[in-house]
């Protein structure tokens, strides 16, 4: 009997422990699900429709409603062109675009991110059913303009305020209307892909901004270094060469080489810098790091130089990886780099969420401008600015030149395989406007054989100034 009772007591103690662990585990499981499982592939559309029927609205910084719930229906921007432009950023309630405001900010939109007491307070006031409203930093007018500029291309436009980090426009092409996504109609290859955040493009000559920064900050380098550019002839065996100007640039130094985007010079420069210094500077600018746009994750930009030999290194110096090398960048990051140079070498934390407002109208969250990281010294940024101004003024970026606007920028072209495996030449432009009233940084990447990235970028900046935003 004694032993029997002891067995029972032991088992009871074990089960008490077991129940306690289970309750705690359940609590943790709920917490974890709220954080990690708000979006899952293959969710039931009708259940989601019901769940979102009381979600808060999403609007742009200029007060245009981009998504809202009405009578149990979730509706998107009234202007269908705007709705299409905002698709990749705003998303839709069926979670087909898992990286969009609708999905990532689901808890906030539904109000389930509130604490118990907050919810109780709202319930007592009779406002507890509604979710929280979100105000984004993007401007509807600029989104529309960007989508019009992108109409005939595949690619992305990203426009930032480089002093605050606010995202002003982020548009991808091609795109479809949210209603088509909900009904799963008219979806063609690549239309749901948010290139601006998740595209991994070869940076091409835009990487020369970083090569130059590394060069300027390296005390061992001779600032008056001269290179003889022989055009289509490789500078070292299997090394970089000119593709656009086969006749060559002749003897060049930094200023001229940057203006004309001379591959020979920057190839040599990369070899002079070495893999380590080059990679370190790139990492200062955010390469090989997890970058975030509030709760959005941005595709990591890579600079991973594995291919041995000077040839590969020289190609890396002009942003064209060969062999084992991996060099990629997203349009969002490209814009942020231009913004960092404009902002005396300090990259601001990119922001997309301006405010979160609860049903009572009180603001729960307001974004505050915050430094992200220091990319280069202010002197380097100033030197780069001078070089980039010349690019637009009289160099490869002449198409971006606009009367009355001081635009600094860098062009790029890169050969890469697209989603179908075809080799395409992408055109890139990364630049900014020198203006106290309009601190705008822009990045444009267009897929396919054209050199219009600079034009689109300048049109974008010009339009923003003309409508006085921000």
């Amino acid at each position: 009997m004694r032993q029997f009772l002891r067995n029972l007591k032991m088992t009871t103690a074990l089960l008490v422990l077991f129940v306690a662990v289970l309750l705690v585990a359940l609590f943790i499981q709920q917490k974890r699900s709220t954080e990690e499982l708000s979006v899952a592939a293959g969710e039931n559309k009708y259940a989601l429709q019901q769940i979102y029927s009381r979600a808060g609205s999403i609007s742009s910084s200029d007060g245009v409603v981009l998504a809202h719930s009405d009578e149990g229906e979730r509706a998107y921007a009234e202007n269908s062109e705007l709705a299409r432009a905002c698709l990749h950023l705003v998303g839709d309630y069926t979670h087909r675009l898992p990286n969009s405001v609708e999905s990532i900010y689901m808890q906030e939109l539904l109000g389930s991110s509130r604490s118990f007491l907050e919810q109780l307070n709202l319930d007592i006031r009779g406002q507890g059913f509604e979710g929280n409203d979100l105000v984004l930093t993007v401007n509807a007018d600029l989104m529309l303009k960007a989508s019009r500029l992108l109409k005939d291309y595949r690619g992305s436009v990203v426009l930032l305020n480089y002093e605050t980090g606010d995202l002003l426009a982020l548009v991808n092409s091609p795109t479809v209307s949210p209603q088509d996504v909900i009904n799963w109609e008219n979806i063609t290859e690549g239309t749901l892909f948010n290139r601006a955040l998740y595209g991994r493009y070869y940076p091409g000559s835009t990487i020369k901004m970083l090569t130059t920064a590394a060069f300027l900050e390296d005390p061992d380098q001779d600032m008056d270094m001269q290179v003889v550019c022989l055009g289509s002839e490789e500078i070292v065996p299997a090394g970089a060469k000119e593709t656009l100007t086969p006749e060559g640039h002749g003897t060049v130094e930094l200023r001229e080489a940057f203006r004309e985007s001379c591959n020979a010079f920057f190839g040599k420069l990369a070899i002079a810098l070495g893999r380590e210094d080059f990679t370190n500077k790139a990492e200062d600018f955010g390469f090989n790091k997890d970058l975030n746009l509030d709760h959005f994750k941005i595709a990591q930009s890579l600079l991973d130089l594995q291919e041995p030999g000077q040839g590969a290194l020289s190609w890396a110096g002009v942003g064209q990886p060969i062999g084992q090398d991996r060099i990629t960048i997203s349009p969002m990051h490209l814009a942020a780099i231009a913004g960092a140079i404009a902002n005396d070498g300090v990259m601001m934390k990119p922001r997309v969420l301006l405010q979160e407002i609860d049903p009572l109208g009180s603001v729960r969250y307001t974004r505050e401008a915050e430094d992200y990281f220091v990319c280069c010294q202010p002197g380097t940024a100033a030197d780069l600015e001078e070089l980039m101004l010349e690019v637009v003024d009289s160099g490869t970026g002449r198409r971006a030149s606009r009367a009355g606007l001081k635009i600094a920028g860098k062009t790029g072209t890169a050969e890469m395989a697209n989603e179908d495996g075809e080799i395409v030449v992408n055109s890139l432009f990364s630049g900014y406007l020198i203006s106290d009233s309009h601190p705008l940084a822009v990045a444009v990447i267009l897929e396919g054989e054209n050199r219009d990235a600079a034009t689109v970028a300048a049109d974008m900046l010009q339009y923003a100034v003309s409508v006085d935003i921000p």
Binding site: L5, Q30, L37
Partner: protein, 608 residues
């Protein structure tokens, strides 16, 4: 916002917390009773004791008796006899069905009764002399001093002091049911409005019949375990509420077959009511039979054959792979029945009849062979869910009844090895484990159901979204396997906690009656049944919330499923009956032979 939505939303502040309060009240009460009972049971059996004869001076000393006594030289024995001829675990002396029985632990131990050597269980009566080695023990039956009104060792004395608490819990339970059903009736979707009167009447019948059965239990069973019934009542009423919600909401049908769709839903709901009523009645009758007869003990062999037969029938005729992954359904006409649910009950009865005492190794091996065969059958079905419940239940009962810790460890090791082999050889198991491991990394067909269930649990928060305001459409099999997540979504995590606590209360209540020191069969069957309830609930909940690999077990009393619900009421009947058994003969004032040894042992009894 519609008024119905508004009401459902605000009542969430009441419904989940109320269920939690009910569970908590029962838990606190049960915990107190169990501790008291443990204290009482650690005391020796009243009215019986042994007289030990000393060889040196021929004097007698009294030795107290428990309900089950292990006699031996081991330190863990209840009665320690240091004697050359006494083994560590020598003999067992226990009270069974009102009589004392003596049984040698192994065939090698020598035990004499009145000078004759015994080899098997032998009844011992007043003045019988037990010989072990050189020690002589005489049983003394002291019942002539029994006062019927002074039987304070029984739990009735305790429950009467906490009876008021049980009553207030019952009242709260009625309030909970009334609020939930009232809310459901008030907010009933338009299509079902014509049936509102019928639904109201049926709902009232369910609760009134429950009360009636409760009253009948209280009247007919002398040691009715109120807490088991209350906890089960809270569970099946919660289940009924949730199933009613499933029955009348989210009807999707085109206009031409709307009428038949409504009819199907209504008759499905009526069937649930019907099963609850039949189940309750069945439980009542069964418990009366079990409590008052020893029929169940004689069913050991029948249960052995029956369990195997049920599993074989399911293996041969079972269908349903397409919808549920395992063919566990037997179709009779248009109705389907899941015989494995009943096979589980059979297993528990076999288990209890084998381990009513610590059986000799030969018998243990016989059980192991039978269990092994049936276990393989379960794996072949494959009904991993049942296997996952029965293994721990068997081990727990085995360990508690026999104290074979080493052997338990061995079985656990073998079980671990077997599950590894099962993992290697069964792709079906591998898929499940893979789905579970990858739960937080990706959504795949193996884990999507759990992911959606967890999303629902997360939407529910602490107190839920409000009854009928969840989205069961988001989860496949929401009303069956995944019902726990919908309870959490609509009534909150707090209601989920309440359900776990209620199942634990059932276990504690079962243990309380085991502790009372009844005969081995009743003890082991109570243990088996109550552990099975608990394990099934824990595994079902753990599975739906991704804490353990999902096995497709349904939550007892709450999940949809006729066979399962009926089998659970069957188990409830057995549990209530077996835990209400009274030591009839033992405590009845019976004419006994006058003790020949004249000693005032009553004073010794006071000294315990």
């Amino acid at each position: 916002m519609q008024i119905s939505d508004f009401l459902s939303y605000y009542f969430r502040y009441l419904i989940g917390p109320l269920l939690f309060l009910i569970a908590l009240l029962l838990l606190v009460r049960m915990w107190r009773i169990l501790r008291l009972q443990m204290k009482i049971s650690a005391r020796p059996a009243t009215y019986f004791f042994l007289l030990r004869e000393s060889l040196k001076d021929e004097s007698f000393s009294p030795v107290r008796l428990f309900h089950t006594n292990l006699i031996g030289s081991s330190g863990s024995a209840d009665m320690r006899i240091r004697d050359k001829g006494v083994r560590r675990r020598h003999a067992q002396l226990y009270l069974y069905d009102g009589s004392w029985f003596l049984e040698p632990v192994t065939t090698q131990t020598l035990v004499w009764v009145n000078g004759k050597q015994i080899e098997e269980r032998t009844e011992i009566v007043n003045n019988d002399v037990i010989g072990l080695g050189t020690t002589k023990l005489t049983l003394v039956d002291d019942r002539k001093y029994l006062h019927e009104d002074n039987d304070s060792s029984s739990i009735e004395y305790l429950t009467s002091s906490t009876g008021g608490q049980a009553f207030s819990t019952l009242i709260l339970l009625h309030a909970f049911y009334a609020i939930c059903m009232g809310l459901l009736l008030y907010t009933l979707p338009e299509e079902f409005i014509p049936h509102r009167g019928m639904i109201l009447i049926y709902s009232v019948i369910v609760i009134i019949f429950s009360d009636l059965v409760f009253a009948l239990f209280k009247i007919t069973l002398k040691q009715f375990n109120v807490d088991i019934f209350l906890a089960v009542m809270a569970l099946y009423l919660t289940g009924f509420i949730i199933q009613s919600r499933f029955s009348f909401w989210d009807l999707r049908a085109s206009s031409e077959n709307l009428e038949s769709a409504i009819q199907a839903r209504v008759s499905g709901w009526q069937q649930i009511c019907f099963i609850i009523l039949v189940g309750l009645a069945m439980a009542l009758i069964l418990s009366l039979i079990v409590a008052n007869t020893r029929l169940l003990e004689k069913l050991g062999t029948v249960a052995m054959i029956g369990t195997t037969l049920l599993l074989l029938i399911t293996l041969i005729f079972g269908r349903g792979q397409a919808t549920h992954g395992a063919g566990l359904w037997i179709y009779i006409g248009s109705r389907s029945i899941q015989l494995t649910e009943f096979a589980k009950v059979g297993w528990l009865i076999v288990l209890a009849s084998f381990f009513k005492t610590r059986p000799p190794l030969k018998v243990q091996i016989r059980f192991a062979v039978w269990a092994g065969v049936n276990f393989v059958l379960l794996l072949l079905l494959p009904d991993l869910g049942s296997a996952m419940i029965l293994l721990p239940v068997t081990l727990i009962v085995f360990t508690i009844m026999t104290s074979e810790y080493l052997l338990t460890g061995l079985v656990l090791a073998v079980g671990a090895g077997a599950s590894l082999i099962a993992y290697q050889s069964m792709p079906y198991v591998q898929r499940r484990i893979f789905g579970w491991i990858s739960l937080w990394e990706e959504v795949n067909p193996q884990n999507s159901q759990i992911v959606y269930a967890l999303q629902a649990v997360s939407r529910g928060g602490a107190i839920g979204q409000g009854l009928t305001r969840g989205s069961p459409r988001a989860i496949p099999l929401a009303s069956e396997d995944m019902v726990f997540s919908i309870v959490c979504e609509e009534m909150g995590l707090i209601a989920g906690f309440a359900i776990i606590i209620l199942f634990f209360v059932i276990w504690l209540a079962g243990i309380t009656s085991v502790v009372k020191g009844r005969d081995g069969f009743s003890a082991s069957l109570t243990l088996a049944l109550t552990t099975a309830f608990f394990m099934e609930a824990i595994i079902a909940i753990g599975g739906t919330t991704g804490l353990i690999p999902l096995t497709g077990i349904t939550l007892p009393f709450i999940a949809h499923g006729g066979s399962s619900l009926l089998a659970k009421f069957l188990m409830l009947g057995l549990l209530l009956g077996v835990s209400a058994r009274r030591e009839k003969k033992a405590y009845r004032k019976a004419p006994v032979k006058e003790a020949e040894i004249s000693l005032d042992y009553r004073d010794d009894r006071q000294a315990y």
